[in-house]
């Protein structure tokens, strides 16, 4: 039963750890499917995390915090859009710039407003998103196997966790079942076809980036208001980049993205769990190696095990009418 509990606990933290990846990955999916590379997912998550925690702490409301996180993150997405859609700038440069601005401005503003070394004040109950207990969770907790799976694994997460996983079928539906999705995929493949069909390429891409901004905002809010009780500098710690890797790994498909993010989340959870405990055969492994494992595996997976990932064909190229 100990092993079973250990597995349940590891899977539980897998879910918790994959949520920010999943939200960021879906965010990237909207923009990359529309032909805009977005290396600035990291930065947008970071400003979202900061704005969410700061607003929640000042206004004493988790939902106001979430709203502010989305608002600021969308604003940063619009900066990316202004540079790379309206002014046809290099999307990578614009994304990197956003990451730098995010890293710097969150620390400076945090220090100026709260004087806690770049942190935001610790969030009080009511300012954070609390865990939700699903109906009947307590009643069946003691049922073997099913009980712990329901009560531990599925129940007891914050609303943002459920939202993140609901975004997977929703994104699939938007992309493949709606007019907006058809146009969004088309503009990432051949913007000229969209333009000649009488649709504005720029407005369509801006709308895709708004979707991206909303999702990175939620991802950031999750980091500072669910996983942590406040904002800490550089708290995204490369998750935006891992999300991009997961996106390639998932071949730009929503359901694949979920599994890719769960895999990365699992590696993360396993590395935390296994720190300091000896592995069979290998023996004791240095903690640093376990921490590095997800990243090492990312490189290996991306280098050779995913087959051919064909990105949206117009990705990264600003749209210019002929001539």
């Amino acid at each position: 039963m100990d092993v079973f509990n250990a597995i349940i606990q590891t899977l539980d933290s897998t879910i918790r750890l994959s949520v920010p990846l999943l939200l960021a990955c879906l965010a990237g999916l909207y923009s990359e499917r529309a032909g805009i590379f977005d290396i600035g997912l990291e930065g947008k998550m970071l400003v979202g995390a900061f704005a969410g925690a700061a607003a929640a702490s000042v206004f004493h409301s988790a939902f106001l915090g979430l709203g502010m996180a989305i608002l600021i993150s969308v604003a940063f997405a619009m900066i990316h859009g202004f540079a790379s859609i309206t002014h046809r700038g290099n999307q990578i440069v614009s994304g990197v710039a956003i990451n730098f601005i995010a890293a710097g401005s969150t620390i400076i503003l945090g220090q100026a407003w709260f004087q806690q070394g770049g942190r935001t004040p610790a969030l009080q109950p009511g300012e954070r998103f609390e865990a939700i207990t699903l109906p009947g969770a307590e009643a069946i907790r003691d049922v073997p196997i099913i009980g712990p799976i329901y009560a531990e694994l599925l129940s007891g997460h914050s609303i943002l966790v459920y939202l993140a996983f609901l975004m997977v079928p929703f994104t699939w539906w938007v992309l493949f079942r709606t007019r907006f999705g058809l146009r969004l995929r088309a503009v990432g493949e051949n913007p000229a076809a969209v333009d000649t069909a009488g649709i504005s390429v720029a407005w369509l891409r801006y709308r895709a980036l708004i979707c991206t901004g909303i999702l990175t905002g939620i991802a950031g809010a999750y980091l500072s208001m669910v996983q942590n009780g406040g904002f800490v500098k550089d708290m995204t710690a490369g998750k935006g980049y891992i999300a991009l890797a997961a996106l390639i790994f998932a071949k730009w498909k929503p359901v694949n993205a979920m599994f890719a993010c769960l895999l990365f989340g699992f590696l993360d959870a396993a590395s935390i769990r296994l720190q300091g405990s000896p592995l069979p055969i290998i023996g004791k492994v240095p903690a640093q190696f376990m921490q590095a494992l997800p990243y090492i595996l990312t490189v290996i997976l991306l280098a050779g095990f995913i087959g051919k990932a064909i990105p949206p064909r117009a990705g990264g190229v600003p749209y210019v009418k002929e001539r």
Binding site: A186, N190, D195, T196, G198
Partner: protein, 510 residues
């Protein structure tokens, strides 16, 4: 004359200092097929893009069906019943036919209903115009002829009454082009108006009712097709008399210069593109390879010129073998007297960001003539470039100009001058006049024949049948990686067309 479907009055359009359209007046009759001809850069496409709302005119008026119209975006054009089939298809390659047809004209926010509606509408159009195409096929899996049909369907689905086609036959086989013309006639019979932009005069004569000629941004003439001739149109286009078919004497074929034997080449995907091909080229003759693009001609050229490895077979240059195993090096071949004018001058033949004089020695840059010790002899290079500019009439005559700023025809002349002036024994030319104007075509053809008359062996690969027939002393037809026939220059277009479509070949195989 029928009532006008479209009237353009005093249209002007400039791009920076370039006046693409000056004071254009044009009237297109309802229910007619109206051709617009002109050289590249004459302003045909710009004019049609203005009509389709892709660009806006600086001044002038457009009337559609007698009413003044303001066309600011393609949406406005579509609403007025104007549809356009672009030269480069505006299709999303990994979408289905139906998805492409509804894109931008979805009847509903959810796809299911839009697609169902489009499906029944496509069936109707299919019955009415004979435009058969599988609605669920993925675009990139369709041959170009069908892709073009999807473009036409797209326009008709949006209720187009006026259909503009920009260079529609450039990518089609002769049979596909004939089918297209049948469709266009049917559209005309149903009362639609068709505007056909092309630089192929034969097509104009074959299908249009009226033809307008553009030159350097101006509309120089409009004629009834029945009352004009190819010669007159060519003269109007270029502004001087043009020889459409170059004069040439009998070939005096000498010794074998290049012998290709059992050559097999695969492309990067591992598909066999050249399948066990053998042929010879003798000194003093032009051998033409005809075929629809994509039947292995490109890979054949690349293998002979040392760019691509061959799987098996041999190539002998002047009786000595060329190493085909991969160690072959285009530079070595060049030293041995094999010059290559590649099909794709933009990617293989030129560095567009370089100055003209730099491109004019590219690949020959370690020739002692262009060197002073370990350094480039800039003066010698520039003087050499100036000589070539004079000799090949390259315009503008400025060897310091960036190569990207020359027109397609002049870029091609830069490559030709570079390769021909090295006095090679064997000259291999891919698509000698792709994207080149009528006037420059004449010049290039004359040069190639002059090479032949100097006793050089010339191999020409072209998808333009007219060109192959006019230049070649012997014609080889390629289909699916094989040579399916050899004919003399007197072969008819129909005969070659059948070979190119693989028809005779398949019958023989059955």
């Amino acid at each position: 004359m029928a009532q006008a479907a479209i009237e353009l009055i005093g249209i002007n359009k400039s791009f920076g200092a370039v006046r693409a359209n000056r004071d254009i007046n044009l009237e297109i009759g309802r229910g007619t097929i109206h051709g617009i001809v002109g050289e590249n850069g004459a302003g045909k496409s710009t004019l049609m893009s203005i009509l389709y709302g892709f660009y806006q005119a600086d001044s002038g008026e457009i009337r559609v069906g007698g009413q003044p119209a303001s066309i600011k975006t393609p949406n406005d054009a579509i609403a007025l019943g104007i549809g356009m089939v672009h030269q480069h298809f505006m299709l999303v390659d990994n979408f289905t036919v139906l998805e492409n047809v509804i894109l931008g004209a979805e009847s509903d926010a959810l796809l299911k209903k839009s697609i169902a509606k489009a499906r029944s509408e496509l069936e109707r159009l299919e019955r009415e115009y004979g435009l058969e195409v599988d609605p669920d096929a993925i675009i990139e899996e369709l041959p170009v002829g069908l892709q073009q049909r999807v473009e036409i369907l797209k326009a008709l689905y949006r209720g187009a009454e006026i259909l503009i086609l920009d260079e529609p036959t450039g990518v089609l086989t002769p049979a596909e082009a004939d089918h297209l013309f049948r469709i266009l006639r049917q559209l005309k019979d149903q009362g639609k108006t068709v505007v056909l932009i092309t630089h192929k005069l034969r097509e104009i004569m074959a299908i249009t009712d009226t033809v307008s000629v553009m030159r350097q941004g101006t509309m120089v003439a409009t004629r009834e097709t029945a009352k004009t001739t190819v010669e007159e149109l060519a003269e109007l286009m270029v502004g001087r008399r043009v020889l459409l078919r170059v004069e040439k004497g009998e070939a005096a074929a000498g010794a074998v210069k290049l012998a290709v034997k059992n050559l097999t080449v695969r492309d990067t995907r591992g598909v066999t593109m050249v399948d066990d091909i053998s042929f010879d080229i003798r000194a003093g003759e032009i051998v033409g390879i005809a075929g629809v693009a994509g039947n292995g001609q490109s890979e054949l050229l690349e293998a002979i010129s040392g760019i691509r490895r061959a799987v098996s077979g041999s190539v002998m240059l002047d009786g000595k073998p060329i190493d085909l195993t991969g160690a072959a090096d285009p530079g070595e071949l060049r030293d041995r007297g094999l010059a290559h004018v590649p099909e794709d001058r933009h990617h293989v033949g030129l560095v567009l960001a370089f100055e003209e004089n730099e491109n004019s020695i590219l690949g020959y840059h370690d020739d002692p003539r262009y060197l002073r010790g370990p350094f480039l002899n800039i003066d010698a290079i520039r003087n050499d470039a100036k000589d070539k500019i004079t000799k090949y009439d390259i315009r503008p005559a400025d060897c310091r100009l960036k190569t990207a700023n020359f027109s397609g025809g002049n870029q091609q002349k830069i490559v030709l001058a570079r390769e021909m002036e090295q006095d090679p024994g064997v000259l291999i030319v891919g698509q000698p006049t792709r994207g080149v104007d009528v006037g420059a075509i004449e010049f290039i053809h004359k040069r190639l024949i002059a090479m032949r008359d100097q006793g050089k062996a010339v191999l020409v690969v072209s998808v333009e049948l007219d060109e192959i027939r006019s230049l070649s002393d012997r014609i080889l037809v390629m289909f699916a990686g094989r040579i399916v026939g050899e004919r003399g220059p007197e072969a008819t277009e129909g005969e070659l067309g059948l070979l190119m479509a693989g028809i005779e070949h398949q019958e023989a195989a059955e």
